[in-house]
Symmetry: C2
Subunit: 341 residues, 2 copies
Amino acid sequence: MSAQSSTRTREVPAPQDPAGFALAIDIGGTKLAAALVSAQGEIVAGHRVPTPDGDGEALFRALCDAIDPALHAVGLEPEEIGGLAGVGVATAAPMDRDAGTVSPVNIPGWRNFPLRDRLMDRYEITGIRMIGDAVAVAVAEHWRGAAQGRRNVLGMVVSTGVGGGLIIDGKAVEGTTGNAGHIGHVSVDPYGPECVCGGRGCLEAIASGRSIARWAAQHGMAGAPGQAVDERDAGAVAAAARRGDPVALATFRRAGEAIGMAVAGAVTLLDLDVVVIGGGVAQAGRVLFDPIDDGYARYAALGYSSSPRVVPAVLGGDAGIVGAAAVVHRPEIYRPGSHRG
Amino acid sequence: MSAQSSTRTREVPAPQDPAGFALAIDIGGTKLAAALVSAQGEIVAGHRVPTPDGDGEALFRALCDAIDPALHAVGLEPEEIGGLAGVGVATAAPMDRDAGTVSPVNIPGWRNFPLRDRLMDRYEITGIRMIGDAVAVAVAEHWRGAAQGRRNVLGMVVSTGVGGGLIIDGKAVEGTTGNAGHIGHVSVDPYGPECVCGGRGCLEAIASGRSIARWAAQHGMAGAPGQAVDERDAGAVAAAARRGDPVALATFRRAGEAIGMAVAGAVTLLDLDVVVIGGGVAQAGRVLFDPIDDGYARYAALGYSSSPRVVPAVLGGDAGIVGAAAVVHRPEIYRPGSHRG
């Protein structure tokens, strides 16, 4: 994904009635993005900027530098957005939805940053809906992507870390503390590697971009990165795998089979009808999805569990924006907690 | 559990208005049970008979021999039950809810037996609600047992096999094909034993009563059963473990830690607030629950996942009956599929 500033505006007229559009914001470690999104999930104007280093104020200014051009592109001034359908924010974890604060692991300048209050002050708006970035991907793929029309869906993000979100009986679920979907910390090997969370054999400790890059380097992949390992390094391992490098291929086989086993467990437990996998590492393509399919087939042998499809996400870098808009336009389905029993 | 016929009637008056009571039926490999259950979940009259060997008709006659005394105990004749709130059936798997047929693995005389139609003919009733026995336990423990008032619950049955049911956002979930909750076939060891389902390392292949008895015998437990191994044999292993037999203790440690890992995965994925474990093997007590707790702590290290409680079921042999009644009295919560989005 590009880390350069960019704007796009589709060939649609400026909204006559702003109430038909959501302002959607996506906060990630490499980019800050904003867009106006229609009730049909169409991005009518969007802008993104690289996530800067720096303190909380510098980060907030950068975020405004993404939001304001998106508004201008459809003829709105910042103080005019109160007439929009609402504002949705997809953010890297962790966040505190009740407090409206964010502390994204990969954005050290924001720790308990009062994002909701700051946005409300800056844009004179009254309500902002927040959603985790991995849940946003699940929601986006259900609303407008690879899981449209499905009733029981796991959406996964395999990038620097591994996250996910769940649609059960047609609605997003949040769990007791807002953490449902966190498949990255499900253990898939009782004797597996220790995980940063304190557990053992977590999927993230085997299949995240960071784990992939580290394992490839430790096992002597030619030209593999040495010290600093992150999602981009996993891309180098993927490129090597496509060239036939045996260590790189073994690395992706290990990671993919672990993903397949975790997915098989989720499908068996929840009787899902589709699993959508996105994120930077998933862009590796067949070198990842072939071993996912193999692991899935090995560990999901019951009739009902062997039939669901495991498919790549289709929304790519737009998933966070589309998911953030979904909680505004379809709160009865996608706003976690809105359908408590 | 007893396999002898028995009747019980509480000191409550015969129902003035049958519409306040459900006829609940529980179909298992060792017993067939029926009861009248109030809207508060109270069993006002119940009867049970041993599950006979024999063909489908012999089994159906035995079931009627459980139902009729339960009706008589509250002054109802079989042809009078149309005035009840409804009829609920909890049955060992598998069943076909749409067709109303049952094929319980441990009741070979019933294969695609048209239980719903036969009951409707015999008792002149129009609607029967069916629920899997493991889901019934989850539902019963949520309605009247150890999970009352909780929003996100896994109920497990560890007996001859391993099954389960889920309450998500306060409602029972069925999944895409009616199989949600099937934790017994979630793999907890990528290199674990082959499972009858065709998978590998399934929880059931390690922690079911059958697997416990087999493993203990294979590893030389003194006095362990040899060939035929079932839930009752697991009881012998539990007794040996309580006496300090090292192989029996190792057997329960292996099984308990596997259950703990599977439960940790479910809690991590679904952000549950309580897990209730029942079934014959769970009656082993601390020799099972201590390793469950150890396994759980090892594989659920994130803050939110380490806090839920893992507790024994409290309804015991009544869980199936109470669960079957719940789908009649509280369909909006407990009837799988009644809240499709």
